[in-house]
């Protein structure tokens, strides 16, 4: 694990810790679990020991790995063309992907992504390319091989039966290292990641259907201003 990766791992840990702590206020044990998980990633960042390096499919030359799949689906009450178009305009992604700051389209296939590291620790940037683009059907992208961050995603669009709009399915694949610790971490990490993907998809749906994302962040309470 090189210094950059170590830093990013710490950042990822911070992200989860942040997410976990933020959630704890409302979500009880789940939030606590995320915070603990975040903490373990921070630790890994600090020590340089990285059992989950292969999570995103890189550095897997060594041992056998086990593929893990996260699938999340929402139905959006809009025509398939409209849903696909909104996603295909990658600049729109930060409007519903919570940790993304911006996506800039460089050419038809390539784009530059920027994400904020929570807690004011700056930003990370990477480049990605669209690897599959079948309009109104399938969109898949992947970060370029030598970028700082591994990021890959695939979204399928299907017309829902009974005039209910469009089924949007996000599929994320990653590889967890074989062996107890790797599998254990993956077991912990998978629900957290699944929840993040799910929450982003839900925001996508709300934005497209309702035109805004429901929130209570900033409303008054006996606790002062709510943080969400």
């Amino acid at each position: 694990m090189g210094p950059t990766e170590r830093l990013l791992s710490a950042a990822g840990g911070a992200l989860l810790t942040y997410y976990g702590l933020r959630k704890r206020a409302t979500a009880g044990p789940l939030g606590t679990g995320l915070a603990v998980l975040g903490g373990s990633l921070v630790l890994r960042g600090a020590t340089g020991y990285c059992p989950v390096n292969q999570l995103v499919g890189r550095n897997s030359a060594s041992s056998a790995t086990r593929p893990i799949e996260i699938v999340q689906t929402f139905t959006i009450n809009k025509a398939v063309g409209e849903v696909y178009d909104f996603w295909r305009r990658l600049e729109n992604l930060p409007r519903f992907m919570q940790h993304l700051e911006s996506v800039e389209q460089l050419d038809a296939r390539r784009s530059r992504w920027k994400a904020a590291i929570p807690g004011g620790m700056g930003t990370v940037e990477w480049e990605a390319e669209i690897v599959t683009d079948e309009p109104n059907l399938l969109l898949a992208w992947q970060s370029l091989p030598d970028s700082q961050v591994d990021n890959a995603g695939e979204v399928r669009f299907t017309e829902a039966p009974g005039d209910k709009g469009t089924e949007v399915q996000a599929v994320i694949h990653y590889r967890a290292p074989a062996g107890g610790l790797g599998q254990g971490l993956a077991k912990l990490l998978t629900p957290a990641l699944a929840e993040m993907v799910r929450s982003d998809l839900r925001r996508f749906k709300q934005l497209l259907e309702a035109g805004e994302i429901a929130t209570i962040q900033g409303q008054p309470s006996g606790r002062g201003h709510d943080k969400g």
Partner: protein, 389 residues
């Protein structure tokens, strides 16, 4: 501003909190003129609805005056006098478009939390715990109203504040109870519970064609109101055997339509009460379903049981065999304000129904905690206490 906050089980407090601001483009800020207690708040107060947090502002039945609108609010302006529905809907999801607003996909910011208990998340509700969104409630001087164009309805000139108020929650809930009951002309309808919701269900049952309504409660003043304002026949469940009495009153057939306007904290006498109370306190059962059991047993073959009394978790010993073998239809749900408000406001405007009679106490917000104690214990013949901040 001043607001009535939930502090813990059976503990409310009037506190100073920040003023609300426009957060989303479809928000409006409303100055609350009247804000009412509701039986649903008692479930929060008594600690039966999880995910309440210390400092949550409660209250969801209210009317007021618009003071500010977000950029995407088109139908309202500053100064408009409005009724605000208690449950939020976006208007654009599949459920809202089916007129099933309390099932809205997009109005609950904590949908993920609700999904853990219910599988799928219902709509957001004002002041009704974080599983239902955690929205700040209406027992305050000001409130933020999301999806304002959908959630609010303009009050016509000449309709008084206290007549308009109950079109927010009690009236549409009672009306939906009667609507779901599928009343046919000539039907005999029974309403369990003569709180604000039950009173409105009685009136609505007649509006929808019932020939007789039988109302059940134990408080004399509530039964009296059901008779005088509702033209209902009444039964006191502490004095008669309800199943026997209903059979007798319906020529041995049983009532056609049964409405549960009581919900999870039903009161009973005898061993059944202690059975449910102990189980509920041990959290082996979260709700006490005495009325639901009775409604299922009382209902005639092929009849309908319509449930608007709120249940939040698990219930025990439901006579499913009776429901199944008598071929009953069970319908239930949180009300859809946006579906019913225009029609009900018309009844009010025409003078067909003036729901103001369920308002028994009008108090300043400072007396919120005492108001809830009175409403909970049903002292001083209180049916609904309304706060004027």
């Amino acid at each position: 501003m001043k607001a009535l906050c939930w502090v813990g089980t059976n503990h409310l407090n009037v506190e100073r909190v920040p003023d609300p601001e426009i957060i989303n483009p479809q928000d409006a800020i409303v100055r609350v003129i009247l804000s009412c207690v509701c039986g649903s708040d008692l479930h929060l107060l008594d600690g039966y609805v999880p995910t309440m947090r210390e400092g949550d502002i409660i209250g969801h039945e209210f009317m007021g005056e618009v003071v500010e609108t977000g950029p995407n609010v088109k139908r309202f302006r500053k100064g408009d006098r409005v009724i605000v529905g208690s449950i939020l809907g976006c208007g654009d999801c599949w459920f809202c478009q089916q007129n099933a607003w309390s099932l809205c996909d997009n109005s609950n910011p904590h949908a993920a939390l609700a999904e853990k208990t219910y599988g799928y998340s219902p709509a957001g509700i004002f002041g009704y715990s974080h599983a239902f969104g955690g929205y700040a409630g209406s027992h305050a001087e000001l409130i933020r109203v999301p999806f304002a164009d959908k959630t609010m309805i303009q009050i016509p000139e000449g309709v008084k504040d206290e007549s308009a108020l109950f079109v927010s929650d009690a009236f549409p809930t009672g009306f939906m109870a009667a609507d779901m009951a599928d009343i046919a002309p000539g039907d005999v309808v029974v309403v369990w519970g003569c709180g604000g919701v039950g009173q409105m269900a009685i009136r609505s049952a007649f509006l929808l064609g019932a020939s007789r309504v039988i109302a059940i409660d134990r408080f004399p003043e509530r039964l009296e109101m059901a008779r005088t304002h509702g033209r209902a026949e009444t039964l006191n469940y502490t004095e008669v055997d309800i199943l026997e009495a209903l059979k007798e009153m319906t020529g041995g057939r049983g009532p056609d339509r049964c409405i549960d306007a009581v919900g999870m904290e039903a009161h009973t006498t005898g061993p059944e009460h202690y059975y449910d109370l102990v189980k509920q306190q041990l959290r082996l059962e979260t709700d006490r379903p005495a009325v639901l059991r009775q409604a299922i047993l009382a209902c005639r073959k092929g009849g309908t049981v319509s449930i608007v009394g709120v249940y939040s978790g698990y219930i025990d010993k439901v006579p499913m065999g009776a429901a199944m073998n008598k071929g009953l239809t069970l319908k239930m749900g949180q009300q859809h304000p946006q579906k019913y408000m225009p029609r009900l406001l018309e009844y009010v405007q025409r003078g067909d129904v003036d729901p103001a009679y369920i308002l028994t106490h009008r108090w300043p917000l400072d007396k919120g905690p005492e108001g809830y104690q009175m409403f909970k214990k049903k002292t001083d013949e209180c049916i609904r206490v309304v706060f004027a901040p």
